[in-house]
């Protein structure tokens, strides 16, 4: 277990380093002038001062080192578009909304998805199975950036049941969370169903039956416990897709989160914001994957008890 954890940690660090380097390289190669339209109006002297201020006059390797040092300190630079604000500040401001949205969506996707998958598998080829699978298939075919506007329009505007946008109260959480979770919910339902059906065919379920255990005990203690293992392995990528999904859902529902910020910085070519946000997002994703790997290691006794062998 320890061995496993250390390996994962190592990979995480290497990945983070690699991503920051890639971001650095790509940022240095962006087309256009870092100072945007204003640069035409700069005199040579002012330009030199600005270059110094942003450290752009130093050699590339030097810039790289400075960059890495500041990253480690948590300094992501200053927004090009809004020089009065540091990137880190803007992130702090916008992150809570995205976090909340993501967590709600995760909760819905995991709980409803797993439940649907379990119900479908226990009623194999009967109506509940077909109904659950139809739902799943819809979830997979209608992406969140379509589901969002549809929900917003039909439920929000036409039916007026829930607000179609903004983030001002508890009822504002509902539609965006649903829109974001739907695709992931579908994937979880399908995976759980497949996993459950797989486990139900195993010999040890026959053993459990032969012991005279009730259907309920067999399902919960024997089937679900084993079926959930492969599903947990994909929790990492699931969270990743939820986080990336916030980009579009926030735009659609005007949620003041990181996603909106990101899109804004892309359209306004605010390079420091873009790189800062990219790094932030990547770090979250990488850390989340790492944590889910560790969680899986705990839950599967075969890994937990491995005595350091490969």
């Amino acid at each position: 277990m320890l061995n496993y954890t250390l390996r994962r940690l190592f990979y995480m660090i290497v990945t983070l380093w690699l991503i920051s380097t890639v971001v650095f390289v790509l940022m240095k190669n962006l087309p256009g002038d870092p100072f945007g339209e204003a640069s035409q109006k700069l005199t040579a002297e002012n330009r030199k001062i600005l270059m110094e201020q942003y450290g752009l006059d130093k050699s590339l390797p030097e810039q790289y080192l400075i960059y890495m040092k500041s990253l480690l300190k948590g300094d992501l630079g200053v927004s090009y578009q809004f020089p009065a604000h540091s990137v880190t500040d803007k992130i702090k401001q916008a992150f809570p909304a995205s976090l909340e949205l993501g967590l709600w969506a995760a909760l819905i996707a995991v709980s409803v998805g797993l439940l649907l998958g379990i119900i479908a598998s226990l009623n194999h080829n009967k109506t509940p199975d077909h109904a659950a699978m139809v739902t799943a298939v819809i979830g997979v075919s209608i992406p969140s950036f379509v589901m969002g506007p549809l929900l917003s329009y039909f439920v929000g505007v036409k039916l007026g049941w829930l607000p179609p946008g903004l983030w001002n109260g508890p009822e504002h959480r509902v539609l965006p969370a649903i829109a974001l979770s739907f695709g992931t919910l579908a994937i979880m339902a399908r995976m759980m169903r497949t996993s459950m059906l797989d486990v139900l065919n195993q010999d040890y379920i026959k053993t459990a039956k032969a012991k005279g255990l009730s259907g309920y005990a067999i399902v919960v203690k024997h089937t679900i416990r084993n079926a959930i293992l492969p599903v947990i392995t994909v929790l990492g990528p699931i969270f990743v897709s939820l986080i990336t999904g916030t980009l579009v859902v926030e735009k659609i529902f005007s949620v003041p989160g990181l996603g909106t910020q990101f899109i804004l910085s892309i359209t306004s070519n605010d390079y420091t914001m873009i790189s800062g946000l990219t790094l932030f997002y990547s770090s979250i994703l990488v850390v989340v994957i790492f944590l889910t790997d560790i969680a899986y290691g705990f839950i599967d006794p075969r890994i937990r008890l491995a005595k350091g062998r490969k």
């Binding site: 040890y204 032969a210 012991k211 255990l213 416990r225």
Partner: protein, 343 residues
């Protein structure tokens, strides 16, 4: 008070599949006496596993169907075919136990073996968790696992195949069932481990006085453990008798075939083993007459037309074959079945 723990009459079990109905068991009759070890022998697909699992009602219905007229009487009073699922749950694990073939896949990988043994104790004997685990430790000791206190907290993947099979036996016997069904318990194990497991089962049987149905295709295991034997082919019993009846006085050509295809210590080493040619019939459309006729070197016209009934050869021994009809021609039995003739 009957001394028969199990009376099976005219058991018919079919499976409805997308390609039609498969008649897996086509009229099986046998009894099991208390404290006895009965072996069911036959090729793969002859219906022995289905019979065993039907006794415990382990096969889901659908797609399996226990046909009308079948009867499985347990302990002289309980009609298994008529019980509800709930009632069966009470019997399984407490009055009947089963050991499966593959110990590598028959245990839940995410539960400690202590928990897996304790489960039936908690359910059927209303034990508290702590007491159940203690009893589990005792069971592990009983089945010959060293360091039971340590093992009880381990997971199946930490045990070898032989040990896992012992754990299976412990699970099956935990609540002291009256009937134990062992479905090919040694097939997936090494020969040396096989011997150990057989020894263990014999010892436990003496101790607990349980009745055992032993399903196997290995005549060696039969000779080691069983007192009575039934031979199945294509869903029917073709011969049954005591160990001696079958090994020394067999009367059905299929049994001869089985005996001939297995090496024996008392055989001449330059004699060849003779396999039975052909393959078992398709159970979608079982043949009209005797199912073995197509592969039987002694087949007669009658065999193709009608399925023979059992002829009683002695108080313990019977076989279903037209050769046993008073008007049938006398043939020399092969040497392996007690005759002097080389088949």
């Amino acid at each position: 008070m009957s001394d028969k723990i199990l009376e099976v009459k005219d058991l018919r079990v079919s499976f409805s599949t997308y390609a039609g109905e498969v008649q897996a068991v086509r009229g099986v009759n046998f009894d099991l006496n208390k404290g006895e070890v009965l072996a069911i022998v036959g090729e793969s697909g002859c219906g022995k596993s289905v019979t065993a699992q039907t006794i415990m009602r382990l096969i889901p219905t659908p797609p399996s169907v226990i046909k009308q007229g079948s009867s499985i009487l347990f302990d002289g009073k309980v009609e298994i075919t008529k019980l509800t699922n709930r009632e069966m749950e009470r019997i399984r694990g407490s009055e009947m136990g089963m050991i499966f073939q593959d110990p590598m896949t028959s245990l839940n990988p995410t539960m400690t073996i202590g928990e897996q043994i304790a489960e039936s104790l908690i359910k059927h004997q209303n034990m508290k968790h702590k007491a159940a685990i203690e009893r589990a430790v005792e069971m592990l000791k009983l089945v010959g696992i060293s360091n039971p206190e340590g093992r009880v907290k381990q997971f199946p993947h930490e045990l070898s195949g032989g040990m896992r099979q012992r754990v299976m036996i412990a699970i099956a016997l935990a609540c002291n069932p009256k009937l134990l069904i062992a479905d090919e318990p040694t097939t997936a194990l090494d020969v040396t481990i096989q011997a150990q497991i057989i020894e263990l089962m014999k010892k436990l049987q003496e101790k607990t006085d349980a009745s055992i149905i032993l399903i196997t295709h290995d005549l060696g295991v039969v000779a080691d453990m069983a007192q009575r034997v039934i031979v199945m082919y294509a869903g029917k019993v073709v011969e049954q008798g005591t160990l001696d009846d079958i090994f020394y006085r067999a009367e059905h050509p299929y049994t001869w075939g089985l005996l001939r295809s297995v090496p024996r210590l008392d055989q001449n080493t330059d004699e060849e083993l003779v396999p039975i040619p052909g393959t078992p019939p398709d159970l979608f459309a079982p043949p009209k007459g005797c199912a073995f006729a197509a592969r039987c070197p002694y087949a007669m016209q009658a065999c193709l037309e009608e399925d023979p009934e059992h002829t009683k050869l002695s108080a313990t021994h019977s076989a279903a074959c037209w050769l046993l009809h008073p008007d049938a021609p006398k043939i020399e039995k092969p040497i392996e079945a007690g005759g002097r003739h080389h088949g």
